[in-house]
């Protein structure tokens, strides 16, 4: 973990998207990456919810870092996280009820995301407000990016369509393939296959062009 004095904010932001991408690199918080990604719109909204929670949690923890007793920090982190998740859940239920009906359970389960707690513990509780927010934004955008890629791939291959949200309540369905699509990709099993294949693709690009050994494998 590098301190913000040695790395610029831009590096900090990119770190969460590329080097420490929650899903493809750290393999954390995998549940929603498969559960909600059979439709591009659901994937994007789930990613936005995580982005919001991650940034706000980092901001709150960073503001409170001087008054939190180290011994009780984990329960306090959990309280902060579940507070922001409850807020997000209520906002989504109010503004995007059709998405909420599908992904509601997984929104509540953002509380149990290892990645959010880990950023609060490793970064926000040690750094000032601006780097913490940038870190939160980076991790959140990385997550949003991963979910978008997975759901793009799955919906396109599985249904031959792309559901693009054009506003809170509106959407546009593009149809690309009119022949019989590969239905398995939108089924539960396809989610695992899609993530596995995409992860392997990232490893391959990493090994090939970044001159690095693949480290998503343990």
């Amino acid at each position: 973990m590098s301190s913000p004095s040695t790395t610029s904010l831009k590096d900090l932001f990119l770190n969460g998207i590329i080097k420490e991408n929650t899903i493809f690199k750290l393999a954390l918080s995998l549940c929603p990456s498969i559960a909600v990604t059979n439709n591009l719109k659901n994937g994007i909204f789930m990613g936005l919810a995580v982005l919001f929670v991650q940034t706000m949690v980092n901001l709150t923890i960073s503001l409170m870092r001087k008054i939190i007793q180290p011994k009780v920090r984990l329960p306090i982190f959990m309280l902060v996280i579940s507070g922001w998740v409850t807020i997000t859940q209520m906002m989504m239920a109010a503004f995007v009820p059709d998405v909420y009906a599908k992904v509601g359970l997984y929104i509540a389960l953002i509380v149990a995301f290892a990645s959010i707690l880990a950023r609060a513990e490793m970064f926000a509780s040690k750094n000032s407000i601006v780097p913490s927010m940038v870190d939160g934004l980076g991790m959140g955008v990385g997550f949003l990016f991963a979910l978008t890629v997975i759901s793009f791939f799955r919906e396109l291959v599985g249904k031959g369509t792309l559901t693009v949200p054009t506003g809170l309540a509106t959407q546009h369905v593009f149809t690309f393939i009119n022949t019989k699509p590969v239905l398995i990709m939108v089924l539960p099993a396809g989610g695992f296959l899609a993530v596995g294949i995409l992860m392997a693709l990232f490893n391959w690009i990493d090994a090939r062009y970044m001159k690095k050994t693949a480290h998503a494998s343990h």
């Binding site: 995998l30 549940c31 959990m78 998740v85 359970l105 149990a112 290892a114 099993a189 296959l193 693949a214």
Partner: protein, 197 residues
């Protein structure tokens, strides 16, 4: 009485096979992929998991129905449930360290992970959402625990064999595990329609 027993049985079967948490609801994946490398840890983890799940289902049911509904604070369910689970995990951590240090040495680290695990949190949330009775909540907790144990053990036995297989470099490790999980999930879709609730 008889039909009630049948219903409970159906609930357990449905929670463990048809709506298996790992393969059809995609929960607890971090632990699922983290622990399934060795059979020994997989078995230990399943036992810890099922126990914590049933206890937390019971405690959360009592708190939800007897405290939160009368006080009309059900919107706090996430915060309250996560608190209950964290408390329970801390308690079982302490008890296990005293009672069975050997098991603690092996599973202690996973026990800490349990508190941030989605399955454990999902059980009380689903119980509250579906308005299950106390016994039904317990049955749902048990069924989900058994389902998770089944998933872990299947996966661990495959991954132990996989150590010897020749896997393409890019697929080594997690990507391959995902593909295998996809294939198992495909097999599990065959259970849908086994019983209709």
């Amino acid at each position: 009485m008889n039909s009630e027993f049948t219903k409970l049985f159906e609930l357990i079967i449905s929670a463990s096979l048809i709506n298996n948490f790992v393969f059809t609801r995609f929960l607890g994946l971090c632990i699922f992929f983290g622990v399934s490398k060795k059979m020994e840890t997989a078995v230990g983890m399943s036992i810890t998991f099922t126990a914590v799940m049933m206890i937390s289902a019971a405690v959360s049911w009592v708190v939800f129905t007897k405290v939160m509904i009368p006080l009309e604070i059900t919107f706090l369910e996430i915060i309250v449930f996560i608190g209950i689970i964290a408390g329970l995990v801390q308690a079982s951590d302490t008890i296990m360290r005293k009672v069975s240090p050997g098991l603690y040495y092996k599973l202690g680290i996973y026990l800490a992970l349990i508190s941030t695990n989605c399955i454990i949190l999902a059980v009380p949330l689903v119980n509250a959402g579906e308005k299950y009775t106390f016994i039904q909540s317990l049955a749902f907790g048990l069924g989900s625990g058994l389902g998770f144990a089944l998933a872990l053990i299947i996966m661990a036995s495959i991954r132990e064999k996989l150590e010897l297989a020749d896997v393409p470099a890019a697929f080594k490790g997690l990507p391959m595990a995902f593909v295998i999980t996809g294939l198992i999930a495909l097999a599990f879709t065959g259970f849908s329609g086994l019983i209709t609730l």
